[in-house]
Amino acid sequence: MAVIASVVSIGRPALSARIARAVLVLAALAVLGWLLVLPLLAIFTEAFHQGYAFYLDAIKQPDTIAAVRLTLTVAAIAVPLNLVFGLAAAWSMTHFEFRGKALLGALIDLPFSISPVIAGMMLILVYGKDGWLGSWLEAHGLQVIFAVPGLVLATVLVTLPFVARELIPLMQAQGSEQEEAALTLGANGWQIFFRVTLPRVRWALLYGVLLCNARAMGEFGAVYVVSGHLRGITNTLPLQVEQLYQENFSAAFAAASLLALLTVVTLGIKRVVEWRHGDALNVHH
């Protein structure tokens, strides 16, 4: 930080400027440390509080394993869905002129501004037992709410903007000349997509997918509303952590450490992508 600052400024800055810089940097680090690093460390300390064996036992509990499996399943369905949706939405937002384009843009952003609890309740209103489609779904033997489909729907809804928002500015900046060039050279739609468009946005896409995945696995509010908290059946990992927290402190932290680990891994991959391919996603980061 200090190195960058001294490279940027010309000559030796005045003493007051150096003090101001040091204070700002320290303040930022202190806030991050107290709010982020310390609690993260606390989770791991607490998880291993009663020893390594206890930690393994806590994680190996069937309910916790089921929760991990469910979380991975939901993410494995929701993330690809949002990948496809994000690509399609970003493509149409940047390559077509159509009525309601501004509306589509606003709708893509909606899940960012809406409270996840409300998102979950909206789903219950539509797909729940007394919801608009409830009786039709029941008649066909389909259960959405309090089952995996509901969890997937809630997760898809909440993580909808991540991929699209990552791609739209990049695609806008890139324009469509290369696609037009490919078209006049005789390429068909799939060839243009896979050989020209996709390679150009791949790092931004990966970045969006990572963010989407982190949120999909960590989502609590919307999933809480539609899950029904059936242990070992509809409890995702965040819900499991919350329930364990009411009963067994250390076991809760053991499960929480798994989620935290996921966050750290995502952050790590994200850093690597930014570091290696920063210029490929440089439009707004």
Partner: protein, 381 residues
Amino acid sequence: MGIEISRLRRQYGAFVALDDVSLTIGDGEFVAVLGPSGSGKTSLLRILAGLDQPDSGSVVRDGHDLLALDARRRGVGLVFQHYALFPHMTVAQNVAFGLRVRPWHVRPKASVIKANVEHLLRQVELEGFADRYPSQLSGGQRQRVAFARALAIEPRLLLLDEPFGALDAQVRVTLRSWLREFHRSLGITTLFVTHDQDEALEMADRVVVMNRGRIEQIGTPEQIYRQPATPFASRFIARGQSVPAQVHGQHLHLFGHAWRIENFAADDAHEIAVHVRPEDIALAPMGGDGLKAQLINLRHVGGIVRASLRVENRDEPLEAEWNERDWVRHSAAVDGVVNVHLQALTVFATDREGRVQARSTVHPPHASFPVAVGPWRRVEA
């Protein structure tokens, strides 16, 4: 046979990009479409490439409807101003793209593609660059890769959209002569869009002058320069400057002189415009019958002297261009005043819609007769 474009119209909302555009391009011809931005030249090119459809009109190539063909089946090579190379592919992969995306039954063998690419890179003088990426090339090299890529599909029509627009001046001049030579050796029908007059006049067999979605004039560079058909073509290509003049009966009145105009029937004209080109404002002996002009600015550009002259009844200074040698020999500016002769004047009479009714070029014989000031008609200032 060639390509027959007739009565194309394209409108975007209230903006008319192409208005009744008709043009015939001969086989192997090199045609430049010249116009300012917003004149419709790029719209025309995109329609020919199949990237846009006209609202009405037709394009026929060798008796077949070109508009009915999808862009990818038109056999049209398109070169963009900003190259539009694929940045994640090497030069060789870029050039091979058009061959590799062909359906398997018409796709050449890998060895054939490789040989083709090598041949094309030799043609654009980029042997040895096959494994580079576009980001490792200069602007001029990138544009030549774009040419090679467009030529790989053996197009029957080559469309160039301001191909030198993003390059610096020196590279541009070099590439101009390269492209002209290149076209001569290949003989592909080529349509070239530009806003640069020099580029169009220097390179093209024929120039199409466009303004506000309409074709103002089609002709060889020489024809357009010598006989601009409209005031716009005169201003844009021959650098014609309007001078305050009036037409009265069969006489042109200008700066207190009058000259006869032959065959100029424009009694019901809405507007009269009289243009003079910078090179037609010649230095004249002091004390003669020339027009007095105040010299307000003088620039020496190579062997040419460019001068800004203030004359009466014209707010903007007139731009004149003289030979350096003539200027030195003359060297007779007293208090910054010179005497000039207007050697050629082009007179346009236009109707209410701006259509040209009559056009004539007057070569004023020096020593004209002075005239009394008469009842002037409305003229273009």
